[in-house]
């Protein structure tokens, strides 16, 4: 709440002093509660992932079968111990350590799949939006074709046929979820390309790739960031769904989706086993979404949409 209050004060201050656009943007960023929460949570998860080798109390792969399924410390089970604050999994591996290491894989999947789809989608979208005409028609055709194929079904079929691994999952997701990038980038580019500064650059004789890179892309970057967050969250959830059906990341790699999938069998009996990675995944996706919403609000100040 403190953040919101500050913003109110800032807003009043703004009326008096008429600050620079940069300062206004900073205020909007720091005044946006959702954005701040999202960024903070994401930063914490990112740090967990980054520091996993140093902050993990145990080796995440070290199994001790005779110590399996120790409950976390907040349960009143006599087996609960501070040696394993979040307990151990079905193979006696430390749950807290796996959670830290799992952050790496889940972030990696989300980020890499988003990157692949971003490159594909942005290329198609920007080209379509910039050149229009025939190029746009072809791009539209490709986008429509892609949209008409059911993502989950195709992903499952492909992964089941070529065998699943971290790399396969990233590529399959990346190659499937670029549609939103293409659609949004196309319309954003269309708006920008008719603006004066693009025409000016064209008149100056700048090469087309240069115009796209230096004039178009920076001006559609805010849309790009918003879509990137959506697709990153989308990829993480899709991986969880694939893992649920046994076709996601393969063990013993501790992705959060995989941890949920491995724990699902005991969810009626040891709910904590699925609640821990489930909550982590939920917070990750939530924070990414909040960040995306925040970026959109901050860059389009006429209210969120």
């Amino acid at each position: 709440m403190a953040v919101v209050d500050t913003s109110a004060v800032d807003a009043r201050a703004a009326q008096i002093t008429e600050p620079s656009p940069g300062a206004l943007l900073r205020r909007r960023i720091f005044g946006h509660a959702g954005l701040m929460i999202g960024v903070t949570v994401l930063a914490v998860i990112f740090l967990m992932a980054l520091l996993a080798p140093w902050i993990s109390p145990h080796d995440p792969f070290d199994q001790i079968l005779d110590r399996k399924l120790i409950p976390p410390i907040w349960t009143d089970s006599p087996k609960a111990t501070w040696v394993h604050p979040l307990g151990t999994d079905q193979l006696g591996r430390d749950y807290l350590s796996r959670l830290f290491w799992g952050a790496r894989i889940s972030l990696l999947i989300g980020f890499a799949a988003m990157l692949i789809s971003g490159v594909i989608g942005t290329t198609i979208g920007v080209l379509a939006g910039y050149f229009g005409g025939k190029v746009d028609m072809v791009a539209n055709f490709i986008i429509t074709t892609r949209l008409s194929m059911p993502v989950v079904l195709v992903a499952l079929a492909v992964v089941s046929m070529i065998g699943s691994s971290l790399t396969v999952v990233i590529w399959v997701l990346g190659l499937l979820i670029w549609d939103r990038f293409a659609v949004v980038m196309r319309s954003a580019t269309m708006q920008v390309r008719n603006l004066d500064f693009v025409a000016a650059a064209q008149a100056l004789g700048c090469s087309t790739p240069r115009i796209i890179l230096t004039e178009i892309l920076p001006n559609v970057a805010n849309h790009l960031i918003v879509v990137a967050t959506i697709e990153m969250a989308h990829a993480i959830l899709l991986e969880a769904a694939l893992s649920f059906l046994g076709l996601g990341v393969q063990p013993p790699e501790p992705s959060w989706g995989l941890m949920i999938s491995e724990a699902k069998g005991l969810m009626f009996f040891d709910a904590w086993l699925i609640a821990i990675p489930g909550t982590a995944l939920f917070l990750l996706v939530l924070s990414i979404n909040l960040m995306g919403d925040g970026v959109r609000d901050v860059t389009a100040p006429d209210g969120r949409s």
Partner: protein
């Protein structure tokens, strides 16, 4: 224009879905059991799933009956049988037995069934179950002669588990498929068994009802429960939810942790029973996979010493599971544990690795398809001696392709021997030089051929023992453990678990 493309028609059909739910269990005298598999074809010859083995014994009878307590073969549809020579068998058939359609059972049915299934053009799915026979002929109204294709000592196990008798002309009415070939699996099931087929809805259920006219002195007993309904429920959690709330009466393949917790609720009966399935790890002995670590026997020994099979069995599989040392199931004829053994000894494993030139271990790919957590436990054990195993988890068919192409450095797989209690169904399958054979050891191949075609039991055992000792001694396989299955069933149900993975629902009753 095909009708199903129009949503309006589909919606109209959807309106028909709103009907009353079915009751279940003791209240309506229906035993509901479920697995995760869909059954569409209800015919043991044209559907080679475990579900149809179970239903095969429900709806049909075989010629012989295997008494699980004594291991002996008893009369079922055949009252007596004798070997004329090692490729000819004569059987006297039971009189007074009728099929579900009312026709009476006799020689012509057995002759028709056998001659139909051994004909490869008729496309029986597991041709190996029947192609040891060449033909059958009637010697009288209730006497038949079976001609074998080759000497086959395991004829009795197959005759009692895989050859079910259908009435004469049964498959003649098969509809032609889209490709013009006859679709034998589409024929409505008719047998002599203790239960009669009622209906099937693919992906949902197969319903059977008690055969009131089942013959009295069958060793399978008289059926008690009115109806038996098989249901497909893919998700184990959903199966658990249904068995806890009474929607199901019987499930199996429940993982150990869940089974233990279900038992703790006190609401259901939980049993752990032996199965014929064994777990093994096969090494790429000749280095075809491109990762040549396992061409060195010391490395294979190191792997064998690194894996704590006892702990894995105790903690993950279940109390009815045992560690095995030879490439077969202890209950199978010819299987002996009197072979070289490799005990859990990580220190020795490390020493062996160092001797083999890998003091810091190495990294390789391991392949598996079933019970991921078992393979994960193996990977965990290997990590402790410095070997990093990367898991590729595949569907069975995909993995078997790779195994056949020799692309797996180690594959951790299982084999159920089709519930045939004979070493020929496993050791000979894997080590006779075929695609599954990791070593193609000519000595083993010769020994197995000797065991497979000799009729003298003692000589067979001797040959198999030598072969098994070589396989374990050279570590072509690291035999792991026997599978144990957790059965969970309603407290209302009086059910006897068996060691061959064939639940006898015809012998079950309500408490």
């Amino acid at each position: 224009m095909k009708h199903w493309l129009t949503p309006a028609v589909a919606l109209a059909a959807a309106a028909g879905l709103w009907s009353a739910p079915a009751l279940a269990g003791k209240a309506d005298d229906t035993l509901n059991w479920a697995t995760d598999r869909e059954v569409a074809v209800v015919d043991p010859y044209y559907n080679n799933t475990r579900e149809l083995v179970v239903m095969g014994h429900l709806g049909w009878d075989a010629l012989l009956f295997r008494n699980l307590d004594t291991g002996q073969y008893e009369p079922l549809l055949a009252t007596s049988w004798e070997w004329i020579d090692n490729v000819t068998m004569e059987l006297e058939l039971r009189e007074g037995v009728t099929f579900h359609d009312g026709s009476s059972f006799g020689s012509e049915d057995v002759v028709y069934t056998i001659n139909h299934v051994v004909n490869e053009d008729n496309g029986v799915l597991t041709i190996k179950n029947v192609n040891w026979m060449k033909s059958a002929e009637a010697l009288g109204p209730h006497k038949v002669r079976i001609h074998l294709a080759k000497p086959f000592p395991a004829a009795e196990p197959y005759l009692s588990n895989a050859v079910f008798i259908v009435p004469e002309g049964h498959y003649d009415s098969a509809p032609a498929g889209a490709d013009g070939k006859k679709d034998f699996g589409a024929v409505s099931p008719v047998g002599t068994g203790p239960y009669k087929f009622v209906e099937v809805k693919a992906g949902e259920y197969v319903l059977w009802e008690k055969n009131g006219a089942y013959f009295d002195d069958s060793p399978k007993g008289t059926p008690q429960i009115g109806n038996v309904r098989f249901r497909t429920i893919k998700e184990m959690n959903t199966q658990l939810a249904e068995i806890l709330t009474g929607g199901l009466d019987w499930i199996w393949d429940v993982p150990k942790d869940q089974a233990e917790r279900l038992e703790a609720t006190g609401q259901v009966t939980v049993e752990n029973a032996k199965t014929m399935r064994v777990s093994y790890m096969a090494f790429d002995v000749d280095g075809d996979s491109g990762q040549d670590f396992f061409t060195k026997k010391k490395v294979r020994q190191a792997v064998a010493h690194a894996i704590d099979r006892e702990s894995l069995t105790r903690n993950l599989v279940g109390p009815a599971s045992v560690v095995i040392h030879s490439a077969c199931h202890p209950d199978q004829f010819g299987c002996t544990q009197d072979v070289p053994k490799w005990d859990y000894d990580p220190a020795k494993a490390k020493a062996l690795l160092a001797e083999a030139g890998y003091p810091d271990g190495f990294e390789f790919d391991i392949y598996a398809y079933r019970q991921r957590e078992f393979t994960e436990a193996v990977i965990g054990d290997l990590a402790k001696v410095g070997i990093k195993a990367n898991l590729t988890f595949l569907q069975y068919r995909a993995l078997r392709d790779l195994v056949w192409e020799g692309k797996t450095p180690i594959n951790h797989m299982t084999w159920g021997s089709n519930s045939i209690p004979d070493v020929s169904a496993i050791t000979s399958h894997f080590f006779s030089g075929g695609r599954d054979d990791p070593a193609k050891d000519s000595e083993v191949i010769a020994l197995l051929a000797e065991g497979d075609t000799t009729t003298d039991p003692v000589a067979r055992e001797e040959a198999y023992k030598k072969a098994l000792a070589k396989v374990s001694g050279e570590l072509y396989w690291l035999p792991m453990f026997t599978y144990a299955k957790y059965y969970v069933f309603s407290k209302d149900l009086n059910f006897q678990t068996t060691s061959d993975e064939i639940p006898r629902f015809f012998a079950a009753s309500w408490n």
